[in-house]
């Protein structure tokens, strides 16, 4: 970082947060942030980048991916076969080597996100017991800022607090837990279902009102309890929800019930594509899209935001905090299967999978994802994601941009998938095309707003100088896959995909105010049930490398 002035001159700027839609503007940068243009006309920048003719946007933000921590690392170990044939990431004088495939190594992850113009990413599912592991990997994931969501939807302490009708205790615990893990937001994955999986063969919950044995709570109570606590803690990103029954035909009613269970409280439903299926009884012939029904509810309920979880055809790795889902998928695909249950907190399932465009189910999944992008009217409430690597790699984002901006191409691709998709979804009838401004919203301005990141996703004065500069091209995939320049906190880090300066990037986390009186009870709880000591659980400040606490305020 430098206090010298850096000017990006004459670019065509997209900054939807500040109402700038493709106007030619100069940007001024100092100390890693956007600053006002000097009022004194004789002030000259130390450095000027001529961006005339180029498109300037804030750096991309991936608000839901799996890039670090125990399950990602297990997937790396588990899949040597795909790395041998994947692109090789070569060592240079300043950058490390790495491996790709569906689960890239840490350094490669940082370089590839940055190379594609993304400067921030959030891992979506971390058992807090493994928080330290994630922070270590983050420190080896250069070029981008990052944070993670803490798995809480099957946490025993939380379920007990709900059972005993102690919302204050729940709230204090949630505040303590996020601070202890140095996490960013609470994440619920198949609330209650993972605990049932731990208790019973093939176990799961099946509706919002299924009762979780031993704790005597329902998914609905868990969702509501955490939503309320998150709101009172004023968390910048209230609650990230992976609903029950992911991937199952007929699951759309569960998804609708989940939205209703929020009762107007803020909530983000993630990889909604996987939760928008009609049909039932495991009968492939009834499988169909319910994106329209659900999108209508989202359109009329501003408390709800979503990301899509787009499926892209090809081989990938499914990884989830949803233990029973991993079991289900490994049986469907007859593949190798990893499952790991984390005491008191969470589960995890990993299986290699392949999406084929000849398969009706996979083609429908692909189409339903696109329907979601095209059916949510307000682009500020829908975010681009592949749920990397579950629906496909984050490297597919440029291709998704093209599918959204180019109706002709979309219809060409539609012709190559299973033809029944035309009957079972309405993708063929949708002629909406995204504008560059809307793409800018769903890939950076929107996620920043949904995450409560006031310094990101825009180019106004005070924003982090995370900037991506593209060379315009008719083929939007070409334009978005290889930005001309990527600037991170005011430093030029990438030119045409090549890393210039592998800055470290920082970790973003919250530190909510909570009633510290709860700690004695948590300490007892640890003494009774955890296999590690209470004192050794929290990640302390001195353990952190570059990091920033994001304020909890309205």
């Amino acid at each position: 970082m430098t206090s010298s002035l850096f000017k990006i001159a004459g670019g065509t700027v997209y900054d939807p947060t500040n109402g700038v839609d493709g106007q030619v503007r100069d940007l001024w940068i100092a100390d890693g942030r956007i600053v006002a243009a000097p009022t004194d006309p004789t002030v000259r920048p130390e450095r000027t980048l001529d961006a005339s003719g180029m498109v300037v946007m804030p750096g991309g933000i991936d608000m839901h991916c799996h890039i670090a921590g125990p399950k990602v690392n297990v997937a790396r170990k588990m899949r040597p076969e795909e790395k041998r044939v994947a692109e090789k990431v070569m060592r240079t004088a300043t950058t490390h080597s790495g491996t790709m495939g569906s689960v890239p190594s840490t350094f490669a992850t940082g370089y590839k996100y940055a190379g594609m113009g993304y400067t921030t990413a959030f891992d979506a599912a971390i058992p807090p017991l493994a928080a330290r592991h994630v922070h270590e990997e983050f420190d080896d994931t250069p070029c981008i800022d990052k944070g993670f969501y803490v798995l809480v939807g099957n946490n025993h302490y939380i379920m007990r607090a709900i059972q005993e009708q102690e919302p204050e205790r729940l709230k204090a615990f949630l505040g303590w837990l996020l601070s202890a893990a140095k996490g960013y937001a609470p994440k619920i994955v198949n609330p209650g279902g993972v605990e049932v999986w731990k208790q019973h063969q093939g176990g799961n919950v099946h509706s919002l009102d299924s009762v979780v044995e031993h704790f005597d709570v329902t998914p609905r109570q868990i969702i509501r309890g955490i939503a309320l606590a998150a709101e009172e803690l004023k968390l910048p990103h209230r609650m990230h929800i992976h609903a029950n029954n992911l991937g199952l035909p007929g699951n759309w009613t569960t998804t609708l019930e989940t939205m209703k269970a929020l009762e107007g409280h803020g909530g983000h439903l993630t990889h909604i594509q996987f939760h928008s299926y009609g049909g039932g009884d495991g009968d492939e012939d009834t499988f169909n899209s319910k994106a329209r029904e659900l999108a209508e509810y989202v359109n009329s309920h501003p408390n709800i935001t979503i990301d899509v979880g787009q499926v892209m055809f090809g081989k990938t790795t499914s990884m989830t905090g949803d233990g029973p889902l991993g079991y289900y998928l490994s049986n469907v695909y007859k593949s190798k299967w990893f499952s790991s249950d984390t005491e008191m907190e969470a589960g995890c399932g990993i299986a290699p999978i392949e999406y084929k465009n000849k398969s009706l189910i996979h083609s429908l999944q692909w189409a339903i994802g696109l329907e979601w992008y095209l059916m949510v009217e307000d682009p500020w409430r829908v975010v681009m994601s592949t749920d990397h690597p579950n629906g496909g790699s984050f490297m597919a984002y440029p291709q998704i941009v093209r599918l959204l901006m180019d109706r002709t191409w979309r219809n060409d691709v539609l012709k190559t998938v299973n033809p029944l998709v035309l009957e079972r979804s309405s993708l063929g009838d949708l002629d909406r095309e995204y504008t560059l401004n809307e793409i800018c919203i769903i890939t950076r301005a929107g996620p920043a707003k949904i995450l409560g990141l006031k310094h990101k996703g825009h180019l106004g004065v005070g924003a982090d100088a995370d900037i991506t500069i593209y060379t315009p091209h008719d083929n939007k995939e070409v334009m978005f896959e290889l930005p001309r320049y990527v600037i991170k906190a005011g430093q030029m880090i990438v030119e045409l995909g090549e890393i210039r300066d592998p800055v470290r990037g920082k970790t973003l986390h919250v530190s909510p105010d909570y009633d510290h009186g709860v700690e004695a009870d948590i300490a007892d709880w640890f003494e009774k049930y955890y296999s590690i000591r209470f004192r050794n659980y929290p990640v302390t400040e001195d353990y952190m490398h570059e990091h920033e606490t994001i304020a909890c305020e309205e």
């Binding site: 125990p70 690392n73 790396r76 170990k77 588990m78 899949r79 040597p80 076969e81 790395k83 090789k88 070569m90 060592r91 004088a93 490390h96 080597s97 790495g98 491996t99 495939g101 689960v103 890239p104 190594s105 840490t106 350094f107 490669a108 017991l129 493994a130 330290r132 592991h133 270590e136 990997e137 080896d140 025993h156 731990k198 208790q199 019973h200 063969q201 093939g202 031993h214 079991y327 490994s330 190798k336 299967w337 990893f338 499952s339 790991s340 249950d341 984390t342 005491e343 008191m344 990993i350 299986a351 009774k528 049930y529 955890y530 296999s531 590690i532 000591r533 004192r535 050794n536 353990y543």
Partner: protein, 448 residues
């Protein structure tokens, strides 16, 4: 670090108490040890087992020089310079060991391997490497140790002898704890031991099955067949495995009746005939069992932070051990890039050994090669490996003198709380200096 002073009657002002310190001696990585420290000696290690106590008590700061070059005392700076020259100038440098140091040091070591285009390998390749390969074949159904404590009602130890190798495993994790779903602790569990000999662990077991040596694979397949209800020939099964079919059937009935079954397998399984096929069979059996009830498997990893080494090598390179970086990107091939092999075949022309003693435990061919090439050793103790090293660094002991992170055998990361300072630098400090210098030398080569 929370280093509290004891406040009871007649406090001894020279006594320092470190609460909830972590023992790194075995894969249990117990983090509940209260250390009493007096004059740079640990005089008490509350809750540690015999192995843990001897680990804590036998660490005195010794007066050996920080660095020796060809056996002669040298400054750390000179040692780093010489080491960097050796590694940067080699054609096939190898880095080996890593399991007895912090993740912080491991991360730097793997980084050095990348800058020099070397070979990176850990002691996993000589203990649970086969489990790692089996895992790549079938996956694994597993859990954290606290899950076993809270739910495990049938505990099977296979080819492992925790009474001697992981002494607190029974009391902390697998047998004695009163768990959330097992309020009566040991009474709510059944413990089975399967091994080729009656070890000290047999005392702790309700059922002991003594199988014929090198017949683990067959025994596991008997169980897989019984799980599916296949009819087997009693005479040949007993003849083959050394255990009557009725005993296997009884075990399978218990496995199906269990609510949460656990198989904890050790090197008795992974390092006998069949190696990764044995590990694969146990992982497959446990996977099969999940069609009937909940069942998990877990390798009983040994050295303190070998699990951390697996994790670090995996996240930086994508592969867990036996990684070659000579072409500028990571390649993985156990048997080719594992250290015992690169040495025995005479390929390695320089080495860096971190916290490991191959001169004491590798094959003759491997030792001969290591003795013939320039190499660097980092170790808190003097060992056959440090004695024959071109550059030997005496480093501080992790967990006793240095902070950092280690991973328990179930991948749970745990912080270290050092007891007293060492006059020696940490592995992390030496390796960080070395990395900076190696990078400079390599960059100069590129430009030149």
């Amino acid at each position: 670090m929370s280093i509290a002073t004891k406040k009871n009657t007649a406090p001894d002002p020279s006594l320092k108490i470190v609460q909830d310190a972590t023992c790194t001696f075995c894969g249990c990585v117990c983090d509940d040890i209260d250390l009493s420290v007096k004059d740079d000696h640990i005089v008490e290690a509350k809750r540690a087992c015999v192995l843990g106590k001897s680990w804590f008590f036998n660490h005195h700061t010794d007066t050996r020089p920080n660095c020796l070059i060809s056996g002669q005392p040298a400054t750390i700076a000179d040692g780093v310079e010489r080491a960097a020259q050796i590694l940067a100038g080699a054609k096939y440098p190898i880095i080996y060991g890593l399991s007895d140091t912090t993740c912080e040091a491991q991360r730097v070591a793997v980084g050095i391997g990348d800058w020099i285009g070397g070979n990176v390998d850990t002691t996993t390749s000589v203990c649970h490497g086969p489990s790692g390969m089996a895992f790549q074949g079938v996956g694994e159904v597993t859990c954290s140790l606290g899950e076993i404590a809270n739910r495990g009602d049938l505990i099977i130890f296979w080819g492992s002898n925790p009474a001697e190798s992981h002494p607190r495993h029974f009391t902390k994790y697998s047998l004695m704890p009163k768990g959330m779903f097992l309020p009566n602790g040991r009474k709510d569990r059944t413990c089975v031991l399967v091994d080729v000999r009656k070890t000290k662990s047999a005392k702790a077991a309700d059922i002991f099955l003594q199988i014929k040596p090198r017949k683990d694979f067959e025994a596991l397949w008997v169980l897989r067949a019984l799980a599916q209800g296949l009819e087997l020939d009693a005479a040949s099964i007993e003849d083959e495995t050394g255990v009557p079919l009725s005993a296997w059937q009884d075990l399978m009935d218990r496995m199906k009746r269990a609510k949460f079954g656990v198989i904890l397998f050790g090197m008795g399984l992974t390092m006998t005939r069949g190696k990764h096929l044995n590990s694969e069979a146990v992982l497959a059996l446990v996977r099969d069992m999940n069609a009937y009830t909940r069942f998990v498997a877990k390798p009983m990893r040994g050295h303190g932070n070998v699990t951390g080494a697996d994790n670090v090598v995996s996240w930086q390179t994508g592969y867990p051990f036996g990684v070659n970086l000579s072409r500028g990107y990571p390649r993985f091939n156990p048997g080719e890039y594992t250290t015992a092999d690169t040495l025995a075949r005479g390929e390695a022309d320089a080495a860096m050994i971190i916290a490991s003693d191959p001169m004491a435990n590798f094959s003759q061919a491997a030792r001969t090669r290591l003795a013939a090439i320039p190499y660097i050793a980092l170790d808190p103790k003097e060992t056959p490996t440090t004695r024959a090293a071109t550059v030997a660094f005496t480093t501080a002991t992790y967990g006793i003198n240095t902070p950092g992170t280690v991973y328990r055998m179930d991948d749970v990361p745990i912080p270290l709380r050092p007891a007293f300072d060492s006059p020696h630098p940490s592995d992390f400090e030496v390796l960080s200096q070395l990395e900076r210098r190696v990078k400079q030398l390599k960059a100069a080569v590129r430009i030149g």
